[in-house]
């Protein structure tokens, strides 16, 4: 395989109407409107349904724990389950995910334990899971920066002839950042196996999409970089999964990057310290609640006779068990070692840091932090 890139111009205009495979009533869509994508098989849809139900229960539980003061902050993804899980489920275990702070339920879908997902939001350490084991980068807080990391990693994989794809999530606001532009451009010029999934949840904290872009859709941005762009109903997990899966396959086959916009809505506040009533109406929220991604797939699966009452009970039990496990780990105090503050700054330890470490150790030994339970060893 040569990495010399063919410089054929790409002209793929995204569809104006968001692509969907299931309508809001849970009816399968057929014909030209599907853009040639096929509804995933029932087993796949059942699995996606299960993941969404479990993820929502997790999200609701963590939001409750945040209100109880167990977490410093939590950016909820309530309502965005189809976007998050549809996209992530299109990856293999060997592919890499580059998530943002709002993508905790995507991490859950990658098999990461709740305590490790929430380490950062509880305030224990910046990141709690092993990136290499889960092939999932640390959740990025600076906007769009992680998209470049995804481009770099997938380019390195391609240089090594490893069939690895990297998927980067971005929010609608992040598409205004310079790094989003640089990531899209590098990926297209280098033809890296990268998939960008923009979760357009309508607001960047309080700023609505029309203050973010003049483009008709965020998927339109792909055209200028010379890569395909897809404008997808982000509350239709069948469409999100099918489109992402096609993009991942295409990337793996050397076809280069793809930009996917999933149009969705953040039902909860930006974080627990946000007041969404100041920038959006209850009517808007109600409108989007009626377009719930889980209900849509449920209607379809029930109408097909694929989702039985027994299955529903079993999935609900699994979700409750996860919620209970999440409550347990987040209501018990983690053991923290303040001296570890110095352990991971450099691989090669520095004398000046060792001096500072010794000074803190002496302070702790002298009882300087005795009143702070959990801080002292």
């Amino acid at each position: 395989m040569s990495l010399n890139v063919e410089h054929a111009p790409v002209r793929t205009l995204p569809s104006e109407k968001p692509l969907r495979l299931l309508d809001n009533a849970g009816h399968a869509i057929t014909g030209a409107a599907t853009g040639g994508f096929e509804l995933p098989d029932t087993d796949t849809l059942l699995e996606l349904y299960r993941k969404m139900v479990v993820a929502r229960r997790f999200d609701v539980q963590v939001t409750a724990l945040t209100k109880q003061g167990r977490l410093a902050t939590y950016p909820s993804a309530y309502g965005q389950e189809a976007c998050e899980i549809g996209a992530v489920s299109a990856l293999t275990a060997d592919d890499w995910l580059f998530p943002t702070y709002r993508d905790s339920i995507a991490l859950l879908t990658r098999g990461i334990e709740p305590a490790d997902i929430l380490t950062s939001f509880r305030g224990d350490w910046h990141n709690g899971y092993d990136q290499h084991v889960h092939r999932t980068a640390a959740q990025a807080t600076p906007l769009a920066t992680q998209a470049l990391h995804a481009v770099g990693l997938s380019h390195a994989a391609r240089l090594r002839r490893d069939p690895i794809v990297a998927l980067s999530f971005l929010g609608d606001g992040a598409t205004s950042e310079g790094d989003a532009h640089e990531a899209f451009n590098f990926a297209a010029v280098w033809q890296t196996p990268t998939v960008f999934v923009v979760q357009n949840n309508q607001f960047a904290i309080s700023v609505p999409l029309e203050r973010q872009t003049r483009a008709a859709t965020l998927a339109d941005k792909a055209v200028g970089y010379g890569m395909p762009g897809f404008h997808v109903d982000g509350n239709d997990i069948a469409a999100m999964y099918a489109v992402t899966r096609a993009a991942v396959d295409r990337a793996r086959d050397g076809g280069g990057p793809t930009l996917i916009e999933g149009v969705t809505y953040r039902i909860e506040a930006h974080t627990n310290s946000d007041d969404p009533t100041r920038y959006r109406t209850a009517r808007d929220v109600e409108h989007w609640k009626r377009r719930d991604p889980i209900e849509r797939l449920e209607k379809y699966l029930v109408s097909e006779g694929a989702l039985t009452e027994a299955m529903r009970t079993e999935i609900a039990d699994a979700a409750e068990q996860l919620a209970a496990r999440t409550r347990d780990v987040m209501t018990s105090e983690a053991e923290l070692d303040p001296l570890e503050l110095f352990d991971h700054v450099y691989g090669r330890q520095r004398p000046a840091l060792l001096e500072q470490r010794a000074a803190l150790e002496a302070e702790i030994a002298a009882g300087a932090f005795a009143s702070h339970q959990g801080a002292a060893r």
Binding site: H126, Q131, A137, T145, H149, G152, H344, G347, R348, P351
Partner: protein, 340 residues
């Protein structure tokens, strides 16, 4: 693909030849790429052109497009993608072309390059080198002659080094590429064409060490990169007047070699630091503070700073007024009460 974990120098050392610093850096890149195929080089114009300072001259022809290539013109993109490549096990060496061109990459540098090991408790390390041609005195127009070292040096997680001569340039770049921590490798542009007889491969002191490059008894002059030459010129002129000046080349700005600098200052009891960057909040402030904190009772006089003015770097026809000179160093030393 076979990957070699550590670089082993070619068996035969070459006979000494006159080599510029740019040539030494070129040889270091070539040798590192030869012994470790995880090393890749990219940036703006580093491919067939060989870099605007020719530091990567001939490497594209030798190693091809999978090992060294021209990136799109975007510094944040260069650093951001290098992070991903390093995460995957490559050892990217990327170029910022000119000091002030690195500013669009500031966020990637401070938020990710510097913090990745810390954020992930050491699970993700970034063995990458960011080469930054730095400082002035080459007649460059605006944005081509900045001294940005303080920004990087005050960022925990970054290692910041700056060689001042061809031998160190070769040895320190090889060590930087072998380092498992990210290294900001600053190359003083005004020294690119300085020459020295070198038999490669050459191994000088470890890159986190300062070096006494001239022995003296009365004053310690502390310089780095371009100002080591200034310090040596000042020492030469002072010797004619009977003043014995010791010159320390810091080589590494972060970490700071307190031991070598402290030993010199305790011997001479007087110290001054020289740099091109503006004085206010500049790197010299850190040097003066550290030297004073650790050696106060050995000091006969306050630690001096001889720096650029607190102004944006001037246009080429005015830069000679701004840059610290040997005369300015000597004039500054005269402000001390020598009898005290």
């Amino acid at each position: 693909m076979t990957a070699t974990a550590t670089s082993t120098p070619p068996a035969e050392a070459s006979a000494p030849t006159q080599l510029t610093m740019a040539g030494a850096l070129n040889a270091a890149l070539r040798d590192a790429m030869s012994v470790d195929d995880r090393v890749v080089v990219y940036g703006e114009d580093v491919g067939p052109l060989g870099g605007v300072f020719r530091v990567t001259d001939g490497l594209h022809a030798a190693f091809g497009d999978d090992r060294i290539w021209d990136s799109p013109l975007a510094e944040s993109g260069i650093i951001g993608t290098a992070i991903g490549m390093a995460m995957y096990g490559m050892r990217p060496v990327v170029e910022m072309q000119f000091d002030a061109f690195s500013y669009p990459a500031f966020e990637q540098m401070v938020s990710h390059v510097a913090k990745m090991r810390n954020r992930t408790k050491g699970r993700v390390t970034l063995p990458m080198v960011v080469r930054i041609p730095c400082a002035g005195a080459i007649g460059g127009v605006e944005h081509h002659s900045d001294s940005s070292e303080s920004y990087w040096a005050s960022t925990p997680g970054l290692t910041v080094v700056m060689p001042s001569n061809p031998a160190d340039a070769y040895s320190m770049l090889r060590e930087a590429i072998d380092s498992d921590d990210p290294v900001v490798f600053m190359e003083p542009k005004s020294r690119y064409w300085s020459k020295a007889p070198l038999a490669l491969p050459v191994t000088t002191a470890p890159m986190d060490r300062a070096e006494v490059v001239r022995e003296g008894t009365d004053v310690t002059l502390i310089g780095y990169g371009p100002t080591v030459r200034t310090a040596l010129e000042a020492a030469e002129a002072a010797a004619a007047e009977g003043l014995s000046i010791e010159v320390v080349d810091l080589r590494s700005l972060s970490p700071f070699d307190d031991a070598t600098v402290g030993a010199s200052v305790r011997k001479t009891s007087r110290a001054a630091v020289i740099h091109e960057a503006a004085q206010f909040g500049g790197y010299g402030a850190e040097v003066a503070a550290r030297v004073t904190e650790r050696n106060f009772h050995h000091l006969a006089a306050p630690v001096l700073r001889i720096a650029g003015f607190d102004i944006p770097y001037p246009s080429p026809k005015l830069e000679e007024y701004h840059l610290p000179t040997a005369d300015r160093v000597l004039a500054a030393l005269d402000t001390w009460e020598w009898d005290a």
